[in-house]
């Protein structure tokens, strides 16, 4: 088999709780800003977690000329379209003559929120307290006249991709995966493999999600996975801190344009970075808990590093570890941060404390399925700028989290040789582990 072609990133776009422009949000991340505030989407005042990291002042018309075809799209789909429009623009695709059949799309986008007004009312109308059953006829009588085909269909998790593909003309391989919090990292990794294999020349890859709605918040509150620091929400996202007590819900989208090196060169595109390796594994342990030694996370990181040709326990020619920055999954839950730390040690051995390893979830919150794509983009920005973003709110060290989390202030690595290689982790409920290694493109 001929060796696989290099795959490069040529466009990036995101929609985040700190804004929707790549460079200004990056500056905010380096300054330690927080996107967290009380929930405005619905009345969450009595919810144990009544705050979240919401996208503010979003208007799709700032990103697309004609938004009419997307008028009924779910909020997550609108974020994906805005992120895709930015990536498309940066990649210079408006000028490119693309062969649609060689232009694929792989998203890790989540479902759209329910039509709660009518959904809740139908469920209540159907409930028969005496028999503790649902009367289907009463349920349907309330639901059928009130619910609409648009609102229901737009919740389907493949519809985000349908909108993006229709808007930008993707006719090649098309997938949407839902592997919980690992989804958009997995999407980018699988898109990378599709291109390496030769099934497409260029792809949109990324994801979008919003779970800032009634049952999304409810589900995580019932799991006790979210911080309940109601009186100090601005500091509620505290990955790796001993007082951490859960993640903060965020929302948004991240989208990349990735393509073969040849395809990018032929159309004169600017190369932002190279995707060097991808690893995917399952814990196969428990649906609620992470394998305690981080076995699955270690497997994913090792696969990605092996594919990138990097030996994590050996230093490079400059005496530094060969990975210059790790973007942590770093949710701020007790379990994740402890086990991810152990896994990084398991991979990098004695070099682990020398690799800056931070979590932007301390500022953005957890963008759920969109998190991995946005975090991979921060790795590309780290490569471009030579700075790595901080883990904010890390005030009380945890003896079990004893690596270099870049606490509370961004770090300028330019005098130490800059940032050439980054690794980004994403782990999902049920034991889904995905890792991507990105590298500065050097011709």
């Amino acid at each position: 088999m001929p060796s696989a072609p290099p795959v490069v990133i040529t466009g990036m776009g995101w929609v985040t709780p700190l804004g929707s422009d790549v460079d200004s949000v990056w500056a905010k991340l380096l300054s330690g800003a927080s996107g967290i505030a009380p929930v405005t989407r619905f009345d969450a005042t009595t919810f144990a977690t009544n705050f979240a990291s919401e996208v503010k002042n979003f208007d799709l018309r700032h990103f697309l000329g004609d938004v009419a075809p997307h008028a009924m799209a779910s909020i997550g789909t609108q974020y994906a379209l805005a992120a895709a429009a930015q990536a498309w623009k940066q990649a210079g695709l408006a000028r490119a003559k693309l062969n649609g059949r060689r232009f694929g799309i792989y998203l890790g986008s989540g479902e759209g929120p329910l039509d709660y007004t009518n959904f809740n009312a139908a469920n209540i109308a159907g409930w028969k307290a005496d028999t503790r059953t649902v009367d289907g006829a009463a349920w349907a009588a309330r639901a059928l006249p009130a619910m609409t085909v648009e609102a229901e269909t737009e919740q389907e998790p493949n519809l985000t991709m349908s909108h993006v593909a229709a808007e930008f003309g993707c006719r090649g391989p098309a997938f949407n995966c839902m592997t919980a919090c690992a989804a958009s990292t997995q999407a980018i990794g699988e898109a990378f493999e599709i291109i390496r294999r030769g099934d497409a020349d260029i792809m949109f890859a990324g994801g979008s999600h919003s779970m800032i709605h009634m049952l999304g918040m409810t589900g995580f509150i019932r799991l006790t996975a979210m911080s309940q620091r109601r009186d100090d929400y601005a500091h509620a996202a505290r990955p790796f801190d001993q007082t951490r007590e859960g993640f903060v819900m965020g929302e948004g989208a991240g989208m990349l344009v990735i393509e073969t090196l040849d395809h990018a060169m032929a159309r004169g595109a600017t190369i932002l970075a190279e995707i060097a390796g991808y690893g995917s594994s399952a814990d196969a342990f428990r649906i609620t808990d992470i394998q305690p030694e981080g076995k699955g996370a270690i497997a994913a990181m090792n696969q990605a590093l092996r594919q990138a040709g990097i030996s994590p326990r050996e230093t490079g020619a400059d005496g530094r570890p060969q990975v210059h920055y790790i973007s942590a999954h770093g949710t701020g839950t007790k379990e994740n941060d402890k086990i991810e730390t152990a896994a990084v040690k398991g991979v990098f051995g004695s070099l682990a404390p020398k690799v800056p390893f931070s979590s932007v979830k301390s500022m953005l919150g957890h963008l759920i399925q969109a998190a991995g794509a946005v975090e991979l983009m921060t790795c590309v920005k780290a490569i471009q700028s030579g700075f790595v973003p901080p883990t904010m709110n890390l005030k009380t060290p945890d003896p079990e989290c004893d690596l270099d989390y870049v606490p509370n202030a961004a770090r300028d690595l330019r005098t130490q040789g800059g940032v050439d290689v980054c690794l980004s982790n994403s782990f999902g409920f049920g034991g889904q582990n995905d890792t991507i290694v990105v590298r500065r493109w050097k011709p």
Binding site: G136, A137, L144, E193, S280, A282
Partner: protein
Amino acid sequence: MSRRVVITGVGAVSALGVGAKALWDGLCAGTCGIAAPTLFDASGFPTKLAGEVKAPDAPPASFSAKDYVPKSYRKAVKVMARDTDLAVAAAKLAIEDAGLITRGSLDGAAGQTTYPGERVGCQIGAGLINAETDELSAALATATNESGQFEYWRWGTIATEKHPAGVGGMNNLQPLWMLKYLPNMLACHVTIIHGCEGPSNTITCAEASVLLSVGEGMRVIQRDAADVCFSGGAESKTNLMGTLRWTLLKHLTPCEANADPASLVKPYDPASKGTILGEGGGMFVIEEASKAAARGAKPYCELAGFGASHSPPPGYEAIRTRSRLSSDEKPHDGIVYAIEAALGDAKVNPSEIDAIVPYASGIAHVDANEAAALRQVFGSRLKDIPLITVVPNTGAAVAGVGGLQLAAGAMAVREQRLPARIHAGSCPSDMQADPVSARAASLRCVLVVTSALGGQNAALVLKKV
């Protein structure tokens, strides 16, 4: 030299029964599994029949995932949605069929698994799982005001200035409630039960989900990231929310509870008023060919080609109007692209395809699009190619439908036999969709193809080994 991939185990669950044999026997006999649903009350909908999974002569409620998980895992069944029940059962049946020993089949007993966990992948196609209305309705009903309307503050638990005491309606949901409904839970339970530590994915592309998942599993094995994958998928939309959505889409043919089930789903009939919802799906053991041969497995067929594409679909008005098809594109082009990619990957010409397993949904505009694509690829030879149709027998199992199509295709290649077709309407003269009995056939290459409401298309080419 590219690694070749074969199917060595098939597990299917459908309205024709539990197990690939039940599906195959039912298809060959021309049985229809559609009936009045027993797991939900369809009386409020215009369509009063559905294809619920059941063993022959047993009620659907008697199907339980408990019978398909190791004893040590039975407690976990209470956090499984029905979609997961179906996938877990199908996976166990496929693994048994392939003769594999997994962590699940050992269930704590001493012994060696056929493959080390890190060489076992799992890719499962799933739908948007509908929350069970019983648990949710009971909880929501506690958070209503005097007029019976839901109020958000009553759902939470924290007393506030405005509301002296939230009543905590949400606490009526079990703590793990959400984990029941995450689409990746089908794959997670399968990986946990059977110890699959390799690449794992969950594809949510509606009707294309299973073929995309199996195609991705094939790629995972080809790129040497695993030697075996448990791939496939399942969905259950035979519930209130699923029926509501497909009613709103006008995908369902109106019918009374006493209608003749076998007369309802009429693939490619332009006058068809819709289909019937089914549930179920298929799971497959796909294996690297030399490893399968070395352990003496008898493959059903080779997975020789895979293709995927997107095209703005004809199925949903809001998307059709935004389709932005260029002037030289047709709505069915995407299906053609997927088929051509799969044929090219398999290095097979259209003239070598001996049978096709299409979606054949009975939804008139979806069928018309599929038929146009098949005509474009196969031309005048289409009338000579037998079609294997499944939906008239099982109902449309949404994300699981590809699993039933692929199971039927794999069985046909192994048995060198074509199953019967049932059809009570009128068929186009250039397509073999009309009623016929099961019969022997020489099947070297079979095409399986489906397309999803959102415009996702997938195709697989199966080759006789």
